[in-house]
Symmetry: C2
Subunit: 438 residues, 2 copies
Amino acid sequence: MVNKMKWRRTHYSADIKPEMDGQEVIIMGWVHSIRALGKIIFVILRDREGTVQIVAPKQKVGDELFSQIKKLGAEDVIAVKGKVIANEKAPNGFEILPLELEVINTAKRPLPLDPAEKVPAELDTRLENRFLDLRRPKVQAIFKIRSEMLKSVRNTLYNEGFIEVNTPKLVASCTEGGTELFPISYFEREAFLGQSPQLYKQMLMATGLDRVFEIAPIFRAEEHNTRRHLNEATSIDIEMAFADDKDAMDILEKVVYNAFVDVYENRKKEIETLGIEFELPPEKFDRITYDEAIDIANAKGVEISWGEDLSREAEKAIGEEMEGLYFITDWPSEIRPFYTMPDEKNPNICKAFDLMYKDLEISSGAQRIHLYDLLVENIKKKGLNPDGFTYYLEAFKYGMPPHAGWGLGADRFTMVLTQQENIRECVLFPRDRQRLTP
Amino acid sequence: MVNKMKWRRTHYSADIKPEMDGQEVIIMGWVHSIRALGKIIFVILRDREGTVQIVAPKQKVGDELFSQIKKLGAEDVIAVKGKVIANEKAPNGFEILPLELEVINTAKRPLPLDPAEKVPAELDTRLENRFLDLRRPKVQAIFKIRSEMLKSVRNTLYNEGFIEVNTPKLVASCTEGGTELFPISYFEREAFLGQSPQLYKQMLMATGLDRVFEIAPIFRAEEHNTRRHLNEATSIDIEMAFADDKDAMDILEKVVYNAFVDVYENRKKEIETLGIEFELPPEKFDRITYDEAIDIANAKGVEISWGEDLSREAEKAIGEEMEGLYFITDWPSEIRPFYTMPDEKNPNICKAFDLMYKDLEISSGAQRIHLYDLLVENIKKKGLNPDGFTYYLEAFKYGMPPHAGWGLGADRFTMVLTQQENIRECVLFPRDRQRLTP
């Protein structure tokens, strides 16, 4: 175990090629496996980009280095200075002949979870030992794809003229209604954790910043315990002025489509590691109305009346019928939040949309109400008190342009891109009713 | 007031050039000012990218449109279809002859804060009416520069092989010590809001993800009320494995330098709007030791003994002496957090650094302790109980590589880039002891 490392890494495993035969490299990582066969030892070193085989014949490396290597155990952290030896039979066409070894840190054994194990442990055990679970290439692949997706989303939004903002997560009053909020003790006062940046991004539409986005945590004190919900999530939020629901849907299509393309082009190795069939969606997604959606559900034997929110069963029935990504539009005003703009001709329906992937809702958006009187009326209609919305409502009095926006769940979008069934697979340290650690 | 807009914007004000003489455009924004001089009306329309002059001679626009325009008031939201008329005497060399007007929304008057006013109101009034305050180009410029900075920071980190992560803000136990935490009621349990992603990003160093970054809110229940502190802030955090403090400082220099360059190159207009002298820093920043720093302070008559943290007075004295950006290194171990790696030769000092801009600390970092026994010993030495760190400590038992990292305050960095004296100028909706709204 060392306090100060002798070297710096010169190459990740994936950067070494057989053509580098004879070249000296320094590699660093974890002992993925070690096998001593008499006078030769095989060590597989694992780093972020893959694995590399180190072959140490006693005769070539000498007694001292040989016995040093022999003492290594699984998951020890090592640095190896060695020579690249092209070898057609070795994995990736080369192996490393070690010249010098530094044991950087050792691993206690047995491990509570073995990263080299083929059969994965139960999810709960894995989450308890997330730092070991994350050593498995399949698990790391999910988070590399997630990072790529976030990068792609921001690039699309920058290109579309959006400005990044940070809105507060500590808020004074119960807002929006609907979802439960977590209360905080804020000095002498009570405050709450923001369930979404909705009211703030709308207020920003009155500023002339025009197009804003934020990627940040949201907090929902909902009691349900499903494979699609967490109490802390990462939300990709946009809001755009001088725009309607159709404009917002166009941006959402670009964001989602480009993320698929960027993951496909830049994360081929991770897609392969996950062993998934990765297909690019069309550039434009199907659009069905709420009416059509409930017709599909009813036709499949799931009873649902007009005006009801889609039950889990209805979502599943519709998801079976629809392929990949699709919008559901023209929702009943009754079941959408107070700030949703009603349709001009038929105020019973509104300019809201959900973006679905099969049976999973990944985004929700709408054109919002920008007219003060209509907004106050709608707040009251939902049984809420306009007095709780003073600051928000102020922004609608002095020149608020029409605007629209959406929230896209980063965790759920990662589920779609990596084809995971449980949202906990796509969050490093998930938070649910039961789990608040690590 | 309209529910559905007739048109979409074809050009922002800044996109229109005198060479477009005769071309038809649709512009949208707020009535910045209106002046009727008998049979001619001048309207200045303001959008995100600037202002444009609309000139409406009664004789040319006709009675109906003329009287429509005459009724406009300050801060009404309008769309104008008009013709570009090159005119050397007009601002930017052109004006717009209106052909058609749509009043999209009206503004109640008087305004609680006038965006067109030359003399700004008190900060408190401005923050109360932030949506109006943000209509002022000088205020918007700060947030455009902030967005540019965040984009630049991420680009540098992507280029340096960092992966973006999201760590939880809801945490189970009082961690780190030092700063006060906000308690949350989490279903049946008590939880806390994360004061920094420190322990999580360190745990991730045991995973092999190697280089991670996160830009996210942090929450500190500190009681002080200064121009440099907020209770909710945005922190840019990185952590890198197989690295020491010097490696982390190199990355920090690149991140900060590149952000200066990107703001300088891409936000010239905003720099001009702010009226600031914007100078690029050198690529490498000066480095002084803590010992040298207290010598400077003492020489300037600020009494400070070795082992004390730098007082505000000491920071000011040192800031007067040092120019621009500089590191302070080799801090006494006593005054740095428990996870800071002590120096091999002299454990009284440690591998910590602060990045200062004049008298403002904008970043703090260190090589961390990766050795389990030393870490436990240090936790105890600081009077903390290792039992409170179970999950964190587990990650150090099974192969933790040496690692280093830093946190860079996004709000403070924005202060530096925009030359603001109060952190509240650089946060859309600041949170302090007194302010929890809007």
